[in-house]
């Protein structure tokens, strides 16, 4: 059985819905860097089975577009918490951690990189503001990952 990479980054969003593509696009950029010790996953939304991907990780980062994050992005710790997203096909990062807690025990330390988005229409590309936010988030995360893997 393969040993999972210590750092897991999950990009969330639909690439065809305007700024909702921020998460998957950041993952695309990271893939090009071929970072060691980092596994990258992308999906439309989080669901309960993502709890399985969190097993044996040292650090998990959820990357998503946000309507409320201060531009260009925010990076905040997230802990297991029950919220009402359980009742939808799309779970919040907190709810995934909560499901992990119930199924497997204490989840790995996790954070949310919320990149400010503005428009989410089907068939649209990234807005100009979102492109700037993506660049800033990518640059910051690249440095942060270099520090983390050096540790």
């Amino acid at each position: 059985m393969n040993i999972p990479a210590p750092i897991l980054i999950i990009g969330i969003g639909n690439p065809s819905r305007g700024d909702d593509a921020l998460g998957p696009m950041l993952i695309e950029h990271l893939e090009a860097l071929a970072l060691p010790d980092v596994e990258l996953i992308t999906d439309f939304q989080l669901q309960v089975e993502f709890a399985l991907d969190l097993q044996a990780r040292q650090k998990v980062i959820f990357v998503d577009a946000s309507l409320n994050a201060a531009p260009p992005f925010t990076f905040t710790p997230v802990v297991a918490a029950e919220d009402t997203s359980y009742s939808s096909h799309a779970l919040s990062p907190s709810a995934v951690l909560h499901a992990y807690q119930k199924l497997f025990g204490e989840p790995p330390p996790s954070s949310v990189l919320a990149i400010r988005g503005e428009a989410f229409e089907l068939g649209e590309g990234l807005s100009e503001a979102a492109k700037t936010h993506l660049e800033a988030a990518l640059e910051w995360l690249r440095k942060r990952l270099a520090e983390m893997t050096a540790d």
């Binding site: 089975e49 409320n68 939808s88 799309a90 119930k102």
Partner: protein
């Protein structure tokens, strides 16, 4: 009163302006945006019930103008819940465009394997994650417990199996579509890869366990029926016609077949009709109060011709299921309590688990088939301008219909998704439940949840909203007789989780 429109009188109240309005907006544990409105008089008697769908109407426009070979990948972005169904329905339509009327055995079987992986993961998510909390704890039970976390605490094995069943289905998709999401495995005329021996062996390793768990889930639904027989049989019950694809020998076939429709007594309306001319069999009615159309069988007309699709319709109207364990369960289901669950709304759950078992068995059979390692992947023939693809998606019949011009661009597209077929049936179920449980009573969250339980049984996938942080597709409003908002709560993916989101 016609047996197929027994709550027609609740579709439109005579004097709606005098009534109190309650909105469940949108429905939780269904995808996208759905809303139920109830109009109540001063004694809390139900006068009008409507399930409204905020359907996204941009799909066809999204597709128009694109080269046809991009479509099987593009359409996966229409829906984060059933992308594989769109991938395969589009591929089937485009097979016709490229003149591929008979795929190679490798291509046909690989697509089937992908499809059964999708059925397995979708049905597992719906039952274990979205519906089992209601079924295991009761429709009106403590809201704090009525969720998957509550299930994990009280029934840890059930919760764990649900997660692993879904994960297994997604692994099948990953190996057949090439990627976890946005797969490219199916292309016009065939597939672009086979299943390697290593991939086959990895999937074979767990498949017997998966079959065992799927069988256990069927027995769990049966047990729930046995324990709550009268309530389950009566809950949201209404007679309706059924509609699905069917194999030439009458077997359930979720990937391909002719059209079959039966009436509420099980008598055949039509059978083995070529779906390339589906518009000769079904049409769609528009109602002013809903964005989603109301399909009906043309031969019976809009008043009497509406029908059910999805697991219950498929299990009830097939002659047999072509895998042994699932067919045994189908026979038990049809014989149980003189066939009553086969006509009940909650029978969807039992039928869905029978299909999940069938999908697991079909995956096992396909994994043992050497054709999956074949190298003859694509066929082509004489191009044509029009293609229709139809598939039995997890929620029911899915139709993709394209017109392509001489420049290979899609100039017209028509998509009829599974949930649209069930539009009238869902409305009927909601009206039935409203009369059974809410009429004349003070409304509580537990009572309103009964409405949601009825809608959830169909596993509707209403639209394909973005789920960005802070974007709140789920919202509940309570509005009094004067139209003033008394309370509201939103459900969705918050930046800062609180009890209000």
């Amino acid at each position: 009163m016609s047996p197929v429109a027994q709550f027609k009188n609740l579709e439109t109240a005579i004097h709606p302006e005098t009534l109190r309005r309650v909105a469940i907006d949108p429905i939780s544990r269904v995808e996208g945006h759905g809303k139920v409105t109830l109009l109540l008089d001063e004694e809390d008697h139900i006068q009008q019930v409507r399930l409204h769908i905020v359907e996204f109407r941009g799909f066809e426009k999204f597709i128009q103008g694109r080269p046809y070979w991009e479509i099987p990948v593009m359409v996966q972005r229409l829906c984060g819940i059933c992308p594989v169904s769109h991938h395969l329905a589009a591929s089937k339509a485009l097979d016709q465009i490229v003149g591929a009327h008979h795929l190679t055995p490798t291509a046909d079987k690989l697509r089937r394997l992908m499809h059964y992986g999708q059925i397995l993961q979708s049905h597992a998510l719906h039952f274990f994650h979205l519906s089992s909390p209601d079924l295991l704890f009761g429709f009106g039970s403590d809201m704090a417990k009525r969720n998957i976390v509550g299930v994990a605490a009280a029934y840890p094995d059930v919760a764990r199996q649900g997660v692993l069943l879904r994960k297994y289905g997604q692994e099948v998709i990953r190996h057949t579509a090439g990627k976890r999401i946005h797969g490219t495995g199916s292309i016009p005329g065939g597939v672009n890869k086979n299943l390697s021996l290593a991939e086959r062996d990895e999937l074979l390793k767990d498949v017997y366990q998966i079959i065992g768990w799927a069988r256990g889930a069927v027995h769990l639904t049966k047990q729930l029926f046995e324990q709550n027989l009268a309530e389950y049989n009566a809950f949201g019950r209404f007679p309706s016609h059924t509609f699905s694809l069917i194999r030439a020998d009458g077997a359930m076939d979720l990937y391909h077949g002719g059209l079959r429709a039966k009436d509420m007594d099980g008598k055949m309306i039509f059978d083995h009709v070529n779906y390339n001319h589906y518009w000769e069999q079904i049409s769609e009615e528009v109602k002013s109060w809903s964005y989603m159309k109301f399909p009906f069988l043309k031969v019976l007309g809009p008043e009497k011709g509406w029908y059910r699709v999805g697991p219950l319709a498929r299990v009830v109207q097939c002659d047999f299921i072509p895998t042994p364990l699932a067919d045994k369960e189908r026979q038990d289901f049809m014989a149980f309590d003189a066939g009553n669950p086969a006509g009940s709304t909650l029978g969807y759950h039992w039928a869905r688990m029978i299909e999940m078992l069938h999908a697991a068995e079909a995956i096992k059979e396909l994994l043992h088939d050497e054709d999956l390692q074949g190298t003859d992947l694509v066929v082509t023939g004489e191009h044509q301008e029009v293609g229709v693809g139809m598939i039995e998606a997890p929620r029911g019949t899915l139709i993709h219909h394209y017109h392509v011009d001489e420049n290979d661009q899609v100039i017209r597209a028509n998509l009829i998704v599974s949930t649209t077929h069930n539009n009238q049936a869902m409305n009927e179920a909601v009206r039935q439940v409203a009369m059974q449980y809410l009429d004349g009573r003070k409304l509580t969250e537990g009572l309103l949840n009964h409405i949601e339980v009825a809608v959830r049984a169909f596993d509707p996938c209403l639209s394909c909203a973005t789920h960005a942080l802070g974007k709140m597709p789920l919202q509940v409003e309570l509005i009094d007789a004067e139209g003033k908002q008394i309370d509201q709560i939103t459900r969705g993916v918050c930046d800062q989780p609180t009890d209000r989101c």
